[in-house]
């Protein structure tokens, strides 16, 4: 049982690390703010959650796990909100996604 949990937690930790890496590459390589935010949100949610889950499996049913659950809930609430606020602020200040056709540019 302990081995199974260990293997599972390692898979989650490595998976989380992989998502963080992919997110980092995405921030560097993708063309504009919105696609980069998409990459960053991968790090924020899936990467962090998998890593936290992996640590939780290592910690077992202890106070540390409860704290990790609290951190996970906090991140699940704040990460998407921050992403929304950033995208909204960018759109409000007139930055449109690359190659976007605005309604006024469309042939009518």
């Amino acid at each position: 049982m302990a081995t199974v949990l260990d293997v599972l937690s390692w898979i989650m930790l490595l998976g989380g690390g992989g998502f963080v890496l992919v997110g980092g590459i995405g921030i560097l390589r993708l063309p504009d703010l919105y696609t980069r935010m998409h990459a960053a949100s991968l790090t924020d949610t899936l990467g962090t959650l998998l890593i936290l889950g992996g640590i939780m499996l290592q910690a077992g049913l202890t106070l540390a796990s409860i704290k990790l659950v609290a951190i996970a809930i906090f991140l699940l609430l704040t990460g998407p909100t921050a992403t929304y606020a950033l995208a909204n602020a960018a759109l409000m200040s007139g930055m449109y996604p690359k190659d976007t056709k605005l309604p006024e540019d469309m042939p009518s």
Binding site: F74, L77, T78, T81, Y84, A85, N88
Partner: protein, 328 residues
């Protein structure tokens, strides 16, 4: 071994961030990089087991000061002014300082060396005597609140002085009743029409306030204390001001109350000292506060930590409101 690996990794990132701050001409970028710098510094403190300092750095450095700098940037142009003169002198001064610091590290003991001077001086005495004299698990709080209470009082006065200075320069935001109606209308242009941040913010603010109180009153047992709690409390109110508007935040904690918080915390701290003198002890000698000297110490630390927290929260909020009121 792992400490060294992580330390080298974090310090490398720290140097990269510092170069980024110096090289960036956009001040917004510089402010954001400074926030990252503080967060890396907090992680660094944490792997060196300085949890109290790490918490302070994360709350004040990465959190509040970023917000205050952004508030200040609303009053200035967003890019750096080009300065051509005096570059060689600056380079010379920086190089000289670097050489002196590098030279100083030759004498520095190795990381974790038990024979280092810092572990030979008063630290062993603090660690041995704290269970008998004060009986709280967190020795950092014991040092900060009791053994070094004069220093901490000085720090609170420094924070208060900084707040007073900013208020002299920028002026305290007037009471809500004094504002013109058009200013009040402008106060609603924050994020109050954005549903998502507002809902999530309203959900989180009570928990942030609760966490601030936890950090405030759990400082004797774990990392934390007045400085950190004050910063977290101020952050919760600033979040409220951002999502609901400046006016609503000033209705929660009025400018008059802010001034009282700023001065009142330092006054509370100082008056603990006066009370101990009236009870026959020295200034800030908490032993005389209760019939049992150990209980007296604990009471003294709790009260002065409360004073620290109230002053820090008051000063940070007053500075934020001063900047925000100018920005409009």
């Amino acid at each position: 071994m792992m400490t060294v690996v992580f330390g080298v990794f974090l310090l490398t990132l720290l140097v990269i961030t510092a170069i980024g701050v110096v090289r960036s001409e956009n001040l917004f970028t510089a402010v954001m990089l400074m926030g990252i710098f503080s967060l890396l510094m907090a992680a660094n403190f944490f792997i060196l087991d300085a949890a109290d300092v790490a918490l302070t750095e994360a709350a004040v450095g990465a959190g509040i000061s970023t917000v205050l700098l952004l508030g200040a940037l609303a009053l200035t142009p967003p890019t750096e002014r080009h300065e051509r003169t005096g570059r060689w002198m600056a380079l010379g001064v920086v190089s000289l300082t670097t050489l002196v610091v590098v030279y100083a590290t030759f004498e520095k003991p190795r990381l974790g060396d038990p024979d280092a001077p810092v572990h030979q001086h008063v630290a062993p005495w603090y660690l041995e005597q704290t269970p008998a004299l004060i009986d709280i698990p967190n020795v950092v709080t014991a040092i900060l609140g009791s053994y070094r209470a004069y220093d901490t009082l000085g720090e609170v006065i420094v924070v208060l002085t900084a707040g007073v200075g900013v208020l002299f320069l920028l002026g305290l935001p007037g009471a809500v009743g004094d504002r013109k109606p058009e200013d009040l209308a402008k106060g609603r242009t924050y994020l109050s029409h954005h549903l998502v941040p507002q809902v999530v913010g309203r959900l989180l603010i009570p928990f942030i306030l609760l966490f601030a109180l936890y950090v405030q009153f759990h400082g004797e047992y774990g990392p934390g204390g007045g400085f950190q709690a004050g910063a977290i409390f101020a952050a919760a109110i600033i979040l409220y001001a951002l999502i609901e508007g400046e006016r609503e935040a000033l209705e929660v904690i009025s400018p008059r109350l802010l001034v009282w918080m700023m001065a009142g915390g330092a006054l509370l701290y100082g008056s603990v000292g006066i009370v101990t003198m009236l009870l026959g002890g020295n200034f800030l000698e908490y032993n005389v506060l209760a019939s049992n000297p150990v209980k007296g110490q604990q009471w003294g630390i709790i009260v002065i930590e409360l004073g620290v927290g109230v002053t820090v929260a008051g000063v940070l909020l007053a500075i934020y409101h001063a900047f925000a009121a100018r920005g409009r």
